[in-house]
Symmetry: C2
Subunit: 389 residues, 2 copies
């Protein structure tokens, strides 16, 4: 086990009616809010009205900025920073999923900073070391941004997608009502589950030895997700199943399950190249990349995959041969993705794959070191993309 | 799953050499520390010197108060409160195990309070709503107080042992170096492991339905402890095994594993009556009480015990009969306790048991409702004590 520091001060307020506490929670963060959200869906579902009612009841003044898109854009962030400064806003309330929260984090970091907030995405040495406080009303279990240190923003100038990670970006509170996820389109529920599972795979595949507690905690959370994601697909209004998925999504990414170990995020980056070129959701890109990544990379430490196969995918050791056990596990994973309606090959998503050479090259631009469980070369990346065709 | 609120802002700094950061961490909490500890052991092991060196290096002035005993006393707390006020201390640094931390919490809550800090232990309505910040250098994995809301203090007037639980009592940081536990006497290591396991049992046994994620997280942590506690008994300087036990001890009691469920703490109270009369360590009392409590109370929901038997104690369902499966699990638990050198019956600890009628009566004084998984009557308590003879 490696030395580590763990700190996560996000207050989680979870359950039916949790949103009614938004106003009181927001009041502790400052005097005037930026209410930040996407667009139609929070209005259609009534979440927007509930949040506004709670803010009004608590007497919290706010200004609004909507229009956050998937892969949230820097231009809207700049607009939000200006608005906060002009209006004397001193905290940001994000109502939505990962994109809205990430955009809110960028605005919160940008307001007290003299330079361009994009600096933080290019150079972690620059900060942010301070930010406006952030509150969250979560509507999509997926990104884990509601209690994470991270924010991913796309700069339209050059279409660069970059991340920043700092403690000051952890939201002060996250209101999580599983009922808010009842109305998610099935494909979005599925992509969210795939993203949550990926956050756990990425932590699980480590070369660090003696990580038994966090191994088992990860296995516990993975098992829960594997069981409940298909259940919510079949019955979208099953409260308890939605609750299991939603709480798993937070725990998967709040860094507790990462303590004492170093994960491998190459699969995430391999996916970014895929969704960067083709119009495919992040979760769907991950269900394509993971089986291929596993088939190519398990050789770096087969024992880790055998453990996962036995403990989470119930593959029996009686199969004896490691390769057979691992292949059986990957097939079971593919079956799970398919059951959720997700693609497991580029061809399933209508992607021809004629640009995989270009993708394998681009992966290393500005980020030459890919992978910790297995350090990838461009040839490795190409092989993985080939396995995903 | 029940609605819940989860908030734990303790910063955990874990690993070899972690104590070197104590001074810098302490500096963020205030201008002058009360250095609070037990006595000989932190001096004998060199922990005291390391902490003092780190404080001096960071330029943190401090005054000292030693002499904390197991079952920490109110009189020393009063002494600490006076010392802090006289010396202008604005934060408390606890160096030790649960008793030292609980005593530090009481002092921290008492300093800014006009009345007697004992009020908080008698009436949770009174507070504390504010407290001096608390830092911890942990030397014993057991109580989980390093990131919990709780403090248990004994008032020598009437020998009342009572708890307070409030968010303001969560330490701001906990420095945890597993090497500091290498020199623990074996019996103390064993009692600590028993206490940690109890914290998980107490959360696990719930009548709340749909608690799958937290069930599995608890099972993961229990399994880890069951494996590593015997290993550290055999090889006290096995760093990785010590690290697994130490980190499990914190996670067992930081309330994450309690989210969305209501546990059952009657077993803890049954133990308090035992150790209240006889001079027996809390962990040893728990290893006596739990098998008996399980034998008596499993009937309130056998399925919960069967799940634990299968998932954690590897009892095979092929045994078919619930009663047999549960009895087999309890026997395996007893074997584990014995392997650690802990008693599983009062007779193992040289306790005659002629006062169990008195204990069963006393259990309900001032706390008429005992148990959530199974609500106990005085007759139930007596039966449990009889099973523990």
């Amino acid at each position: 086990m490696l030395n580590f520091e763990f700190y996560n001060p996000a207050r989680i307020v979870f359950g039916r009616g949790a949103e009614e506490k938004t106003g009181e929670l927001a009041k502790r963060l400052g005097t005037k809010a930026l209410l930040h959200y996407g667009g139609g869906s929070v209005k259609a579902t009534g979440v927007y009205d509930k949040v506004v009612r709670s803010l009004e009841k608590a007497g919290v003044p706010f200004v609004e900025l909507s229009g956050v898109k998937p892969n949230p854009r820097l231009s809207l962030v700049h607009q939000g920073i200006k608005l906060c400064r002009d209006e004397g806003v001193d905290f940001v309330l994000a109502v939505g999923g990962g994109s809205v929260i990430d955009s809110a984090k960028a605005i919160a970091a940008g307001v007290p900073y003299d330079g361009d907030v994009w600096d933080f995405y290019l150079d972690e040495e620059k900060g942010p070391f301070t930010a406006l406080p952030i509150g969250v009303v979560l509507t999509i279990p997926a990104a884990g941004s509601e209690s994470s240190t991270g924010s991913v923003i796309t700069n339209e100038t050059g279409w660069l997608k970059r991340a920043m990670n700092k403690e000051v970006l952890i939201p002060k509170f996250a209101v999580m009502n599983p009922e808010f996820t009842f109305t998610l389109p099935p494909y979005q529920t599925a992509c969210g589950a795939s993203d949550i599972l990926a956050h756990m795979f990425e932590r699980y595949f480590t070369q660090v030895e003696h990580t038994d507690l966090t191994d088992r905690l990860l296995e516990a959370a993975m098992k829960t997700l594997l069981i409940y994601a298909p259940i919510v697909m079949e019955n979208p209004t099953d409260y308890d199943a939605r609750a299991e998925v939603m709480w798993t999504g937070t725990i998967a990414h709040n860094n507790l399950l990462n303590t004492g170990r170093i994960g491998d995020w190459a699969s995430h980056n391999l996916e970014h190249e895929l969704s960067g070129i083709y119009d495919i959701a992040h979760g769907a890109g991950l269900s394509i990349v993971f089986p291929a990544w596993m088939r190519h990379c398990h050789k770096a430490k087969p024992a880790r995959f055998v453990q996962l196969a036995m403990r989470v995918f119930d593959v029996d050791l009686a199969m004896e041969d490691d390769e057979k056990i691992i292949e059986e596990m990957i097939r079971r994973l593919e079956t799970w993705y398919k059951r959720l309606g997700l693609p497991v090959r580029m061809s399933d998503a209508g992607i021809a794959g004629d640009r995989i050479g270009e993708m394998a090259k681009k992966l290393f631009i500005g980020q030459p070191e890919q992978g910790n469980f297995m350090r990838l070369t461009e040839e490795d990346a190409l092989q993985i993309y080939k396995l995903a065709l």
